[in-house]
Protein backbone atom coordinates (compact mmCIF):
# COMPACT_ATOMS: atom_id res chain seq x y z
CA UNK A 1 0.00 0.00 0.00
CA UNK A 2 2.64 2.46 1.08
CA UNK A 3 4.89 1.83 -1.86
CA UNK A 4 2.01 2.07 -4.23
CA UNK A 5 1.00 5.46 -2.91
CA UNK A 6 4.43 6.79 -3.70
CA UNK A 7 4.46 5.41 -7.21
CA UNK A 8 3.63 7.98 -9.82
CA UNK A 9 0.84 6.87 -12.06
CA UNK A 10 0.44 8.36 -15.51
CA UNK A 11 -3.33 8.71 -15.64
CA UNK A 12 -4.22 10.87 -12.71
CA UNK A 13 -7.97 10.79 -12.99
CA UNK A 14 -8.47 10.09 -9.34
CA UNK A 15 -7.25 11.30 -6.00
CA UNK A 16 -3.58 10.64 -5.43
CA UNK A 17 -1.17 11.98 -2.94
CA UNK A 18 0.87 14.86 -4.39
CA UNK A 19 4.25 13.46 -5.30
CA UNK A 20 7.53 15.13 -4.40
CA UNK A 21 8.08 16.36 -7.96
CA UNK A 22 4.64 17.94 -8.20
CA UNK A 23 5.35 19.93 -5.09
CA UNK A 24 8.50 21.36 -6.62
CA UNK A 25 6.64 22.97 -9.54
CA UNK A 26 6.19 26.11 -7.53
CA UNK A 27 8.51 27.90 -5.14
CA UNK A 28 8.47 25.95 -1.90
CA UNK A 29 6.54 27.68 0.83
CA UNK A 30 5.51 30.96 -0.76
CA UNK A 31 3.24 29.58 -3.44
CA UNK A 32 1.04 26.49 -3.51
CA UNK A 33 -0.28 24.76 -6.58
CA UNK A 34 -3.71 23.18 -6.21
CA UNK A 35 -3.41 19.57 -7.37
CA UNK A 36 -7.07 19.60 -8.37
CA UNK A 37 -7.61 22.82 -10.36
CA UNK A 38 -3.88 23.44 -11.00
CA UNK A 39 -4.21 27.09 -10.00
CA UNK A 40 -1.28 28.62 -8.19
CA UNK A 41 -1.96 30.69 -5.11
CA UNK A 42 -0.15 32.34 -2.22
CA UNK A 43 0.30 29.86 0.60
CA UNK A 44 -0.50 32.65 3.07
CA UNK A 45 -3.91 33.18 1.47
CA UNK A 46 -4.58 29.44 1.41
CA UNK A 47 -3.86 29.15 5.12
CA UNK A 48 -6.53 31.78 5.79
CA UNK A 49 -9.19 29.50 4.27
CA UNK A 50 -8.06 26.51 6.36
CA UNK A 51 -6.13 25.29 3.30
CA UNK A 52 -9.30 24.78 1.31
CA UNK A 53 -8.72 25.93 -2.28
CA UNK A 54 -10.80 29.06 -2.81
CA UNK A 55 -11.10 28.23 -6.51
CA UNK A 56 -12.34 24.66 -6.39
CA UNK A 57 -12.87 23.64 -2.76
CA UNK A 58 -10.06 21.08 -2.77
CA UNK A 59 -8.97 20.27 0.76
CA UNK A 60 -5.18 20.55 0.84
CA UNK A 61 -3.40 18.37 3.34
CA UNK A 62 -3.15 19.91 6.78
CA UNK A 63 -0.33 19.03 9.11
CA UNK A 64 -0.94 18.27 12.76
CA UNK A 65 0.04 21.74 13.92
CA UNK A 66 -2.36 23.45 11.53
CA UNK A 67 -5.08 21.01 12.52
CA UNK A 68 -4.67 21.71 16.22
CA UNK A 69 -4.74 25.45 15.60
CA UNK A 70 -7.88 25.29 13.50
CA UNK A 71 -9.81 22.72 15.51
CA UNK A 72 -9.38 22.97 19.28
CA UNK A 73 -9.93 25.96 21.55
CA UNK A 74 -6.99 28.29 21.35
CA UNK A 75 -4.34 27.55 23.97
CA UNK A 76 -6.09 24.46 25.31
CA UNK A 77 -3.89 21.76 23.74
CA UNK A 78 -1.56 19.89 26.04
CA UNK A 79 0.49 17.31 24.22
CA UNK A 80 0.90 13.78 25.56
CA UNK A 81 3.92 11.52 25.11
CA UNK A 82 5.65 13.97 22.84
CA UNK A 83 9.06 12.39 23.24
CA UNK A 84 8.20 8.85 22.19
CA UNK A 85 10.31 7.68 19.21
CA UNK A 86 10.61 4.50 17.19
CA UNK A 87 13.39 2.03 17.60
CA UNK A 88 14.38 -0.27 14.78
CA UNK A 89 12.91 -3.53 16.06
CA UNK A 90 13.60 -5.56 12.91
CA UNK A 91 16.97 -3.91 12.23
CA UNK A 92 15.58 -2.77 8.95
CA UNK A 93 18.19 -1.14 6.70
CA UNK A 94 18.23 2.68 6.67
CA UNK A 95 15.03 2.86 8.75
CA UNK A 96 16.70 4.96 11.43
CA UNK A 97 18.07 7.34 8.83
CA UNK A 98 14.65 7.73 7.27
CA UNK A 99 13.10 8.47 10.64
CA UNK A 100 15.80 11.00 11.42
CA UNK A 101 15.28 12.69 8.06
CA UNK A 102 11.54 13.01 8.68
CA UNK A 103 12.08 14.27 12.19
CA UNK A 104 14.23 17.07 10.77
CA UNK A 105 11.80 17.79 7.94
CA UNK A 106 8.63 17.86 10.01
CA UNK A 107 9.87 18.78 13.50
CA UNK A 108 7.76 15.86 14.71
CA UNK A 109 8.96 12.76 16.53
CA UNK A 110 6.38 10.49 14.93
CA UNK A 111 3.36 10.34 12.61
CA UNK A 112 0.78 11.09 15.28
CA UNK A 113 0.37 13.94 17.76
CA UNK A 114 -1.87 13.31 20.76
CA UNK A 115 -3.08 15.53 23.55
CA UNK A 116 -5.73 16.72 25.92
CA UNK A 117 -7.69 19.73 24.71
CA UNK A 118 -10.94 21.58 24.83
CA UNK A 119 -13.33 22.24 22.02
CA UNK A 120 -16.20 24.63 22.61
CA UNK A 121 -15.13 24.51 26.25
CA UNK A 122 -15.67 20.73 26.42
CA UNK A 123 -12.82 18.44 27.36
CA UNK A 124 -11.60 15.92 24.78
CA UNK A 125 -8.57 13.83 23.94
CA UNK A 126 -7.47 14.29 20.35
CA UNK A 127 -5.09 12.31 18.19
CA UNK A 128 -3.98 13.82 14.91
CA UNK A 129 -2.10 11.77 12.39
CA UNK A 130 0.37 13.65 10.25
CA UNK A 131 0.94 12.37 6.74
CA UNK A 132 4.08 14.45 6.37
CA UNK A 133 5.93 12.02 8.66
CA UNK A 134 6.58 8.68 6.92
CA UNK A 135 3.26 9.03 5.04
CA UNK A 136 1.44 8.76 8.35
CA UNK A 137 2.29 5.08 8.44
CA UNK A 138 1.53 3.17 11.63
CA UNK A 139 4.32 1.49 13.54
CA UNK A 140 4.77 0.74 17.22
CA UNK A 141 4.94 4.38 18.29
CA UNK A 142 1.80 5.43 16.42
CA UNK A 143 -0.05 2.45 17.90
CA UNK A 144 1.21 3.09 21.41
CA UNK A 145 0.55 6.85 21.37
CA UNK A 146 -3.00 6.32 20.10
CA UNK A 147 -3.60 3.61 22.69
CA UNK A 148 -2.32 5.84 25.49
CA UNK A 149 -4.54 8.65 24.23
CA UNK A 150 -7.58 6.36 24.31
CA UNK A 151 -6.67 5.31 27.86
CA UNK A 152 -6.35 8.98 28.79
CA UNK A 153 -9.83 9.69 27.43
CA UNK A 154 -11.13 6.73 29.43
CA UNK A 155 -9.45 8.00 32.60
CA UNK A 156 -10.74 11.56 32.14
CA UNK A 157 -14.16 10.33 30.93
CA UNK A 158 -14.03 12.60 27.89
CA UNK A 159 -14.62 11.90 24.19
CA UNK A 160 -11.82 10.62 21.97
CA UNK A 161 -11.47 12.35 18.62
CA UNK A 162 -9.07 11.10 15.99
CA UNK A 163 -8.03 12.66 12.68
CA UNK A 164 -6.66 9.91 10.50
CA UNK A 165 -4.18 10.28 7.64
CA UNK A 166 -2.14 7.28 6.77
CA UNK A 167 -0.65 5.25 3.97
CA UNK A 168 -1.19 2.17 6.12
CA UNK A 169 1.15 -0.05 8.09
CA UNK A 170 4.82 0.86 8.47
CA UNK A 171 6.63 -1.77 6.44
CA UNK A 172 9.91 -1.40 8.34
CA UNK A 173 8.29 -2.68 11.53
CA UNK A 174 6.73 -5.70 9.86
CA UNK A 175 4.21 -7.68 11.84
CA UNK A 176 4.60 -5.36 14.82
CA UNK A 177 2.87 -2.76 12.65
CA UNK A 178 0.06 -5.14 11.83
CA UNK A 179 -0.51 -5.78 15.53
CA UNK A 180 -1.01 -2.06 16.21
CA UNK A 181 -4.38 -2.48 14.48
CA UNK A 182 -5.37 -4.99 17.14
CA UNK A 183 -3.82 -3.03 19.98
CA UNK A 184 -5.68 0.20 19.19
CA UNK A 185 -8.92 -1.69 18.57
CA UNK A 186 -8.68 -3.53 21.89
CA UNK A 187 -8.26 -0.16 23.62
CA UNK A 188 -11.21 1.34 21.76
CA UNK A 189 -13.43 -1.60 22.66
CA UNK A 190 -12.77 -1.15 26.37
CA UNK A 191 -13.27 2.61 26.12
CA UNK A 192 -16.51 2.08 24.20
CA UNK A 193 -17.78 -0.46 26.75
CA UNK A 194 -17.21 2.19 29.41
CA UNK A 195 -19.55 4.44 27.43
CA UNK A 196 -16.79 6.50 25.81
CA UNK A 197 -17.62 8.55 22.73
CA UNK A 198 -15.42 7.94 19.69
CA UNK A 199 -15.37 10.34 16.76
CA UNK A 200 -13.27 9.52 13.72
CA UNK A 201 -12.53 12.12 11.09
CA UNK A 202 -10.87 10.62 8.06
CA UNK A 203 -8.66 12.93 6.07
CA UNK A 204 -6.71 12.39 2.87
CA UNK A 205 -5.43 9.68 2.67
CA UNK A 206 -6.76 7.07 5.12
CA UNK A 207 -5.81 3.64 3.87
CA UNK A 208 -4.73 0.11 4.72
CA UNK A 209 -4.34 -0.86 8.34
CA UNK A 210 -5.47 2.48 9.69
CA UNK A 211 -8.71 2.43 7.71
CA UNK A 212 -9.17 -1.18 8.81
CA UNK A 213 -8.89 -0.34 12.50
CA UNK A 214 -9.53 2.79 14.56
CA UNK A 215 -10.47 5.04 11.60
CA UNK A 216 -13.60 2.95 11.00
CA UNK A 217 -14.53 2.38 14.63
CA UNK A 218 -16.06 5.72 15.51
CA UNK A 219 -19.51 6.05 16.98
CA UNK A 220 -19.51 8.70 14.29
CA UNK A 221 -17.36 8.30 11.21
CA UNK A 222 -16.79 11.46 9.20
CA UNK A 223 -14.51 12.39 6.34
CA UNK A 224 -13.28 15.51 4.60
CA UNK A 225 -14.50 16.05 1.03
CA UNK A 226 -12.51 14.21 -1.60
CA UNK A 227 -10.42 12.28 0.90
CA UNK A 228 -9.06 8.96 -0.39
CA UNK A 229 -10.24 6.21 1.96
CA UNK A 230 -9.90 2.52 1.39
CA UNK A 231 -8.36 -0.75 2.39
CA UNK A 232 -6.61 -2.09 -0.68
CA UNK A 233 -4.85 0.10 -3.21
CA UNK A 234 -6.65 1.02 -6.38
CA UNK A 235 -4.06 -0.53 -8.68
CA UNK A 236 -4.05 -3.80 -6.77
CA UNK A 237 -7.82 -4.00 -7.10
CA UNK A 238 -7.71 -3.17 -10.80
CA UNK A 239 -5.07 -5.81 -11.40
CA UNK A 240 -6.99 -8.38 -9.40
CA UNK A 241 -10.41 -7.90 -10.90
CA UNK A 242 -9.17 -6.69 -14.32
CA UNK A 243 -11.76 -3.97 -14.50
CA UNK A 244 -11.59 -0.20 -14.58
CA UNK A 245 -12.88 1.32 -11.39
CA UNK A 246 -15.22 4.31 -11.23
CA UNK A 247 -13.57 7.70 -10.98
CA UNK A 248 -14.94 8.41 -7.51
CA UNK A 249 -13.83 5.00 -6.24
CA UNK A 250 -12.61 5.16 -2.61
CA UNK A 251 -13.39 8.84 -2.20
CA UNK A 252 -15.20 10.14 0.88
CA UNK A 253 -18.31 10.65 -1.26
CA UNK A 254 -18.11 7.07 -2.52
CA UNK A 255 -17.92 5.80 1.05
CA UNK A 256 -20.89 7.91 2.12
CA UNK A 257 -22.97 6.45 -0.69
CA UNK A 258 -21.92 2.96 0.34
CA UNK A 259 -22.97 3.31 3.93
CA UNK A 260 -19.56 3.73 5.55
CA UNK A 261 -19.75 7.33 6.75
CA UNK A 262 -22.23 9.32 8.79
CA UNK A 263 -21.39 12.46 6.87
CA UNK A 264 -18.82 14.22 4.72
CA UNK A 265 -18.05 17.53 6.40
CA UNK A 266 -16.14 20.46 4.95
CA UNK A 267 -13.27 21.85 6.96
CA UNK A 268 -15.07 25.17 7.45
CA UNK A 269 -18.05 23.44 9.05
CA UNK A 270 -16.16 20.79 10.97
CA UNK A 271 -15.52 22.52 14.29
CA UNK A 272 -19.10 23.73 14.71
CA UNK A 273 -20.60 20.39 13.82
CA UNK A 274 -18.33 18.49 16.18
CA UNK A 275 -19.20 20.95 18.96
CA UNK A 276 -22.90 20.32 18.30
CA UNK A 277 -22.36 16.56 18.58
CA UNK A 278 -20.25 16.91 21.72
CA UNK A 279 -23.00 19.00 23.31
CA UNK A 280 -25.56 16.26 22.67
CA UNK A 281 -23.19 13.81 24.39
CA UNK A 282 -22.39 15.91 27.43
CA UNK A 283 -23.14 14.03 30.63
CA UNK A 284 -26.60 14.87 31.98
CA UNK A 285 -26.79 18.39 33.28
CA UNK A 286 -29.22 19.62 35.89
CA UNK A 287 -32.39 18.96 33.89
CA UNK A 288 -34.05 15.58 33.59
CA UNK A 289 -36.97 14.18 31.66
CA UNK A 290 -39.20 14.84 34.66
CA UNK A 291 -38.69 18.56 34.24
CA UNK A 292 -39.32 19.12 30.57
Amino acid sequence: MLKELFTKTKKKKYATIPSETAKQDVPEGIMTKCPNCKKIMYTKELVKTLKVCFHCGYHHQMNSKERIQSFVDSGSFQELNKGMVSGNPLNFPVYEEKLEKDRKKTHLNEAVVTGVAEIGGMGVVVAIMDASFRMGSMGSVVGEKITLAIEKADELKVPFIIFTASGGARMQEGVLSLMQMAKTSVALKRFSDHGGLIISIMTHPTTGGVSASFASLGDYNFAEPGALIGFAGRRIIEQTIREDLPEDFQTAEFLLKHGQLDAVITRQELRDRIISILEIHQPGGSISWQEI
Binding site: D219, G259, I277, I287
Partner: protein, 325 residues
Protein backbone atom coordinates in the same frame (compact mmCIF):
# COMPACT_ATOMS: atom_id res chain seq x y z
CA UNK B 1 -57.57 23.26 -4.02
CA UNK B 2 -55.38 20.44 -5.19
CA UNK B 3 -55.27 17.47 -2.87
CA UNK B 4 -58.86 17.79 -1.73
CA UNK B 5 -60.20 14.41 -0.87
CA UNK B 6 -63.34 12.78 -2.19
CA UNK B 7 -65.21 12.59 1.10
CA UNK B 8 -64.64 16.28 1.82
CA UNK B 9 -66.33 17.47 -1.38
CA UNK B 10 -69.54 18.80 0.24
CA UNK B 11 -67.44 20.91 2.61
CA UNK B 12 -65.25 22.24 -0.14
CA UNK B 13 -68.22 23.13 -2.32
CA UNK B 14 -69.95 25.00 0.48
CA UNK B 15 -66.80 26.92 1.28
CA UNK B 16 -66.43 27.85 -2.35
CA UNK B 17 -69.98 29.12 -2.52
CA UNK B 18 -69.56 31.25 0.60
CA UNK B 19 -66.40 32.78 -0.80
CA UNK B 20 -68.10 33.55 -4.09
CA UNK B 21 -70.94 35.31 -2.35
CA UNK B 22 -68.51 37.34 -0.27
CA UNK B 23 -66.63 38.42 -3.36
CA UNK B 24 -69.89 39.33 -5.04
CA UNK B 25 -71.09 41.54 -2.20
CA UNK B 26 -67.87 43.51 -2.33
CA UNK B 27 -68.75 44.72 -5.80
CA UNK B 28 -72.47 45.40 -5.40
CA UNK B 29 -74.85 47.22 -3.11
CA UNK B 30 -76.79 44.06 -2.44
CA UNK B 31 -76.85 42.77 1.11
CA UNK B 32 -76.34 39.01 1.13
CA UNK B 33 -75.22 38.69 4.71
CA UNK B 34 -78.22 36.63 5.78
CA UNK B 35 -77.62 34.26 2.87
CA UNK B 36 -74.00 33.91 3.89
CA UNK B 37 -74.91 33.31 7.47
CA UNK B 38 -77.27 30.57 6.48
CA UNK B 39 -74.61 28.91 4.39
CA UNK B 40 -72.08 29.17 7.18
CA UNK B 41 -74.42 27.49 9.58
CA UNK B 42 -74.90 24.72 7.08
CA UNK B 43 -71.16 24.41 6.57
CA UNK B 44 -70.66 24.00 10.29
CA UNK B 45 -73.24 21.23 10.35
CA UNK B 46 -71.87 19.45 7.29
CA UNK B 47 -68.28 19.71 8.53
CA UNK B 48 -69.26 18.25 11.86
CA UNK B 49 -71.11 15.43 10.24
CA UNK B 50 -68.35 14.57 7.81
CA UNK B 51 -65.34 14.91 10.07
CA UNK B 52 -66.94 13.17 13.00
CA UNK B 53 -67.91 10.20 10.90
CA UNK B 54 -64.73 9.60 8.98
CA UNK B 55 -64.83 6.16 7.42
CA UNK B 56 -61.74 3.92 7.39
CA UNK B 57 -61.26 4.44 3.68
CA UNK B 58 -61.36 8.21 4.18
CA UNK B 59 -58.60 7.85 6.74
CA UNK B 60 -56.58 5.84 4.23
CA UNK B 61 -56.90 8.72 1.80
CA UNK B 62 -55.86 11.26 4.46
CA UNK B 63 -52.90 9.09 5.50
CA UNK B 64 -51.82 9.00 1.85
CA UNK B 65 -52.38 12.68 1.21
CA UNK B 66 -49.42 14.00 -0.80
CA UNK B 67 -49.11 16.99 1.51
CA UNK B 68 -49.27 14.99 4.72
CA UNK B 69 -46.35 16.03 6.98
CA UNK B 70 -43.38 13.66 6.95
CA UNK B 71 -40.76 12.61 9.48
CA UNK B 72 -38.41 15.45 8.55
CA UNK B 73 -41.24 18.00 8.93
CA UNK B 74 -41.82 16.86 12.49
CA UNK B 75 -38.12 16.63 13.25
CA UNK B 76 -37.63 20.26 12.32
CA UNK B 77 -40.62 21.38 14.40
CA UNK B 78 -40.10 19.22 17.49
CA UNK B 79 -36.33 19.03 17.94
CA UNK B 80 -33.25 21.22 17.91
CA UNK B 81 -29.67 20.47 16.87
CA UNK B 82 -30.71 17.60 14.59
CA UNK B 83 -27.68 15.92 13.08
CA UNK B 84 -28.47 13.35 10.41
CA UNK B 85 -26.38 10.18 10.44
CA UNK B 86 -26.04 8.19 7.25
CA UNK B 87 -25.27 4.63 6.32
CA UNK B 88 -25.55 1.12 7.69
CA UNK B 89 -21.74 0.59 7.67
CA UNK B 90 -22.43 -2.48 5.56
CA UNK B 91 -23.76 -1.70 2.13
CA UNK B 92 -25.32 1.68 1.60
CA UNK B 93 -27.30 4.63 2.80
CA UNK B 94 -31.03 4.14 2.33
CA UNK B 95 -32.75 7.50 2.11
CA UNK B 96 -36.15 5.89 2.66
CA UNK B 97 -35.21 6.02 6.33
CA UNK B 98 -33.70 9.05 8.03
CA UNK B 99 -32.17 9.10 11.46
CA UNK B 100 -29.88 10.99 13.72
CA UNK B 101 -29.33 12.70 17.00
CA UNK B 102 -31.07 15.80 18.31
CA UNK B 103 -32.35 17.52 21.41
CA UNK B 104 -35.93 17.49 22.69
CA UNK B 105 -36.55 20.24 25.23
CA UNK B 106 -32.80 20.44 25.70
CA UNK B 107 -32.23 16.72 26.31
CA UNK B 108 -30.59 14.29 23.89
CA UNK B 109 -32.64 11.80 21.90
CA UNK B 110 -32.19 9.62 18.84
CA UNK B 111 -34.85 10.03 16.18
CA UNK B 112 -35.48 7.66 13.28
CA UNK B 113 -38.27 7.55 10.73
CA UNK B 114 -39.45 6.48 7.31
CA UNK B 115 -39.14 9.32 4.84
CA UNK B 116 -41.31 9.87 1.78
CA UNK B 117 -40.46 12.47 -0.82
CA UNK B 118 -42.37 15.71 -1.34
CA UNK B 119 -42.10 15.55 -5.13
CA UNK B 120 -41.32 12.99 -7.79
CA UNK B 121 -37.60 13.66 -7.77
CA UNK B 122 -37.31 13.29 -4.02
CA UNK B 123 -39.61 10.29 -4.07
CA UNK B 124 -37.31 8.51 -6.49
CA UNK B 125 -34.33 9.28 -4.26
CA UNK B 126 -36.22 8.06 -1.20
CA UNK B 127 -37.89 5.16 -3.02
CA UNK B 128 -41.32 6.49 -1.96
CA UNK B 129 -40.43 5.79 1.66
CA UNK B 130 -40.13 2.05 1.06
CA UNK B 131 -36.89 0.86 2.66
CA UNK B 132 -34.31 -1.72 1.59
CA UNK B 133 -32.46 -3.83 4.18
CA UNK B 134 -29.76 -1.16 4.51
CA UNK B 135 -32.40 1.26 5.75
CA UNK B 136 -33.39 -1.06 8.58
CA UNK B 137 -29.75 -1.79 9.34
CA UNK B 138 -28.99 1.92 9.57
CA UNK B 139 -31.95 2.31 11.92
CA UNK B 140 -30.67 -0.51 14.10
CA UNK B 141 -27.17 0.93 14.15
CA UNK B 142 -28.58 4.23 15.41
CA UNK B 143 -30.73 2.48 18.01
CA UNK B 144 -27.71 0.61 19.38
CA UNK B 145 -25.82 3.89 19.45
CA UNK B 146 -28.68 5.50 21.40
CA UNK B 147 -28.56 2.61 23.85
CA UNK B 148 -24.82 3.04 24.35
CA UNK B 149 -25.27 6.72 25.18
CA UNK B 150 -28.45 6.11 27.18
CA UNK B 151 -30.76 8.39 25.24
CA UNK B 152 -34.40 7.64 24.39
CA UNK B 153 -35.38 6.59 20.88
CA UNK B 154 -38.27 8.11 18.98
CA UNK B 155 -39.45 6.39 15.79
CA UNK B 156 -41.81 7.87 13.24
CA UNK B 157 -43.58 5.27 11.15
CA UNK B 158 -44.71 6.22 7.67
CA UNK B 159 -44.35 3.65 4.92
CA UNK B 160 -46.44 1.67 2.49
CA UNK B 161 -44.12 -1.19 3.37
CA UNK B 162 -40.63 -2.56 2.96
CA UNK B 163 -39.66 -2.43 -0.72
CA UNK B 164 -40.60 -5.58 -2.61
CA UNK B 165 -37.64 -5.90 -4.94
CA UNK B 166 -34.95 -8.25 -6.15
CA UNK B 167 -32.02 -6.48 -4.54
CA UNK B 168 -33.91 -6.19 -1.27
CA UNK B 169 -34.42 -9.95 -1.16
CA UNK B 170 -30.79 -10.64 -2.11
CA UNK B 171 -29.59 -8.55 0.80
CA UNK B 172 -31.99 -10.12 3.27
CA UNK B 173 -35.06 -7.95 3.67
CA UNK B 174 -36.62 -10.51 5.99
CA UNK B 175 -33.53 -10.83 8.15
CA UNK B 176 -33.19 -7.06 8.42
CA UNK B 177 -36.78 -6.65 9.61
CA UNK B 178 -36.59 -9.66 11.93
CA UNK B 179 -33.31 -8.45 13.42
CA UNK B 180 -34.87 -5.09 14.26
CA UNK B 181 -37.83 -6.69 16.04
CA UNK B 182 -35.42 -8.90 17.99
CA UNK B 183 -32.98 -6.16 18.93
CA UNK B 184 -35.62 -3.53 19.67
CA UNK B 185 -37.06 -5.94 22.23
CA UNK B 186 -33.86 -5.72 24.24
CA UNK B 187 -33.05 -1.99 24.06
CA UNK B 188 -32.25 -0.62 27.51
CA UNK B 189 -33.63 2.85 26.76
CA UNK B 190 -37.19 4.13 26.30
CA UNK B 191 -38.53 3.53 22.80
CA UNK B 192 -41.51 5.56 21.63
CA UNK B 193 -43.06 4.91 18.23
CA UNK B 194 -45.56 7.14 16.48
CA UNK B 195 -47.42 6.17 13.32
CA UNK B 196 -47.72 9.43 11.40
CA UNK B 197 -49.00 8.18 8.05
CA UNK B 198 -49.25 4.69 6.67
CA UNK B 199 -48.06 1.85 8.82
CA UNK B 200 -47.53 -0.73 6.14
CA UNK B 201 -46.89 -4.19 7.46
CA UNK B 202 -43.50 -5.57 8.53
CA UNK B 203 -41.76 -2.63 6.93
CA UNK B 204 -43.50 -0.40 9.46
CA UNK B 205 -43.17 -2.76 12.41
CA UNK B 206 -39.38 -2.87 11.91
CA UNK B 207 -39.35 0.60 13.50
CA UNK B 208 -42.27 -0.18 15.74
CA UNK B 209 -41.38 -2.33 18.74
CA UNK B 210 -41.69 0.32 21.42
CA UNK B 211 -42.64 0.85 25.05
CA UNK B 212 -45.28 3.25 23.84
CA UNK B 213 -46.83 3.19 20.41
CA UNK B 214 -49.05 6.09 19.40
CA UNK B 215 -50.97 6.82 16.24
CA UNK B 216 -52.08 10.02 14.63
CA UNK B 217 -55.85 10.06 14.38
CA UNK B 218 -55.94 9.53 10.63
CA UNK B 219 -52.97 7.25 10.23
CA UNK B 220 -53.34 3.56 9.46
CA UNK B 221 -51.50 0.43 10.56
CA UNK B 222 -52.10 -2.87 8.87
CA UNK B 223 -50.71 -6.21 7.90
CA UNK B 224 -51.15 -5.42 4.23
CA UNK B 225 -52.47 -2.53 2.15
CA UNK B 226 -56.25 -2.55 1.61
CA UNK B 227 -55.57 -3.09 -2.10
CA UNK B 228 -53.35 -6.06 -1.33
CA UNK B 229 -55.89 -7.54 1.03
CA UNK B 230 -58.70 -7.14 -1.49
CA UNK B 231 -56.70 -8.84 -4.16
CA UNK B 232 -55.84 -11.77 -1.89
CA UNK B 233 -59.27 -12.14 -0.30
CA UNK B 234 -61.50 -11.44 -3.27
CA UNK B 235 -59.04 -11.35 -6.17
CA UNK B 236 -60.09 -7.79 -6.88
CA UNK B 237 -57.96 -4.83 -5.82
CA UNK B 238 -60.83 -2.45 -6.54
CA UNK B 239 -62.52 -3.75 -3.43
CA UNK B 240 -59.88 -1.96 -1.33
CA UNK B 241 -62.52 0.19 0.32
CA UNK B 242 -64.38 -2.88 1.51
CA UNK B 243 -61.12 -4.38 2.78
CA UNK B 244 -60.30 -1.17 4.64
CA UNK B 245 -63.66 -1.36 6.41
CA UNK B 246 -63.11 -4.92 7.56
CA UNK B 247 -59.41 -5.04 8.41
CA UNK B 248 -59.24 -2.85 11.54
CA UNK B 249 -56.55 -0.49 10.34
CA UNK B 250 -57.49 2.85 11.90
CA UNK B 251 -56.19 4.38 15.10
CA UNK B 252 -59.48 3.85 16.98
CA UNK B 253 -59.45 0.19 15.89
CA UNK B 254 -55.90 -0.37 17.11
CA UNK B 255 -56.63 1.41 20.34
CA UNK B 256 -59.56 -0.91 20.91
CA UNK B 257 -57.38 -3.93 20.18
CA UNK B 258 -54.89 -2.72 22.79
CA UNK B 259 -52.06 -2.39 20.29
CA UNK B 260 -51.51 1.34 20.61
CA UNK B 261 -51.39 3.56 23.65
CA UNK B 262 -52.73 6.89 22.49
CA UNK B 263 -54.54 8.42 19.57
CA UNK B 264 -53.01 11.79 18.74
CA UNK B 265 -55.72 14.08 17.46
CA UNK B 266 -55.40 15.86 14.14
CA UNK B 267 -56.72 19.11 12.76
CA UNK B 268 -60.08 18.84 11.04
CA UNK B 269 -59.44 17.22 7.69
CA UNK B 270 -55.99 15.95 8.57
CA UNK B 271 -52.50 16.87 9.80
CA UNK B 272 -51.65 18.61 6.52
CA UNK B 273 -54.20 21.34 7.32
CA UNK B 274 -52.01 22.58 10.17
CA UNK B 275 -48.53 21.15 10.58
CA UNK B 276 -47.66 23.35 13.55
CA UNK B 277 -50.74 22.32 15.44
CA UNK B 278 -49.92 18.68 14.68
CA UNK B 279 -46.37 19.05 15.96
CA UNK B 280 -47.85 20.60 19.11
CA UNK B 281 -50.07 17.58 19.66
CA UNK B 282 -47.18 15.19 19.13
CA UNK B 283 -45.01 17.25 21.48
CA UNK B 284 -47.58 16.92 24.24
CA UNK B 285 -47.84 13.13 23.91
CA UNK B 286 -44.09 12.65 23.54
CA UNK B 287 -43.39 14.64 26.67
CA UNK B 288 -45.88 12.60 28.67
CA UNK B 289 -44.40 9.33 27.36
CA UNK B 290 -40.85 10.36 28.16
CA UNK B 291 -41.78 11.48 31.66
CA UNK B 292 -43.44 8.17 32.33
CA UNK B 293 -40.82 5.90 30.77
CA UNK B 294 -37.77 7.69 32.17
CA UNK B 295 -38.85 6.54 35.64
CA UNK B 296 -38.22 2.93 34.64
CA UNK B 297 -34.88 1.18 35.10
CA UNK B 298 -33.15 -0.51 32.16
CA UNK B 299 -34.51 -3.86 33.25
CA UNK B 300 -38.00 -2.49 33.77
CA UNK B 301 -38.00 -0.95 30.30
CA UNK B 302 -37.20 -4.29 28.68
CA UNK B 303 -39.78 -6.02 30.84
CA UNK B 304 -42.37 -3.35 30.05
CA UNK B 305 -41.91 -3.98 26.33
CA UNK B 306 -42.06 -7.73 26.85
CA UNK B 307 -45.36 -7.51 28.68
CA UNK B 308 -46.82 -5.10 26.16
CA UNK B 309 -46.31 -7.49 23.26
CA UNK B 310 -47.11 -10.61 25.27
CA UNK B 311 -50.61 -9.24 25.79
CA UNK B 312 -51.38 -8.77 22.10
CA UNK B 313 -53.42 -11.46 20.38
CA UNK B 314 -56.87 -12.91 20.86
CA UNK B 315 -57.75 -16.50 21.39
CA UNK B 316 -60.04 -18.81 23.25
CA UNK B 317 -59.49 -22.29 24.60
CA UNK B 318 -61.79 -25.20 24.32
CA UNK B 319 -62.82 -26.66 27.63
CA UNK B 320 -62.40 -30.17 26.45
CA UNK B 321 -59.67 -31.57 24.33
CA UNK B 322 -61.12 -33.03 21.20
CA UNK B 323 -58.68 -35.67 20.20
CA UNK B 324 -58.39 -37.60 17.00
CA UNK B 325 -58.97 -41.02 18.46
Amino acid sequence: MAGDLEFEKPVIELKKKINELREYTKNTEMDLSSEIEKLEARLEKVEKEIYENIKPWDRVSIARHPERPTTLDYISLLFTDFFECHGDRLFGDDEAIVGGIAKFHGLPITVIGHQRGKDTKENIRRNFGMPHPEGYRKALRLMKQAEKFKRPIICFIDTKGAYPGKAAEERGQSEAIARNLFEMAGLKVPVICIVIGEGGSGGALALGVGNHVHMLENSTYSVISPEGAASILWRDASLAKKAAESMKITAPDLKELGIIDEIISEARGGAHRDVNQQAGEINRVLKASLKELSCLSEEELVDHRYKKYKLIGEYTSLNEYIGVN
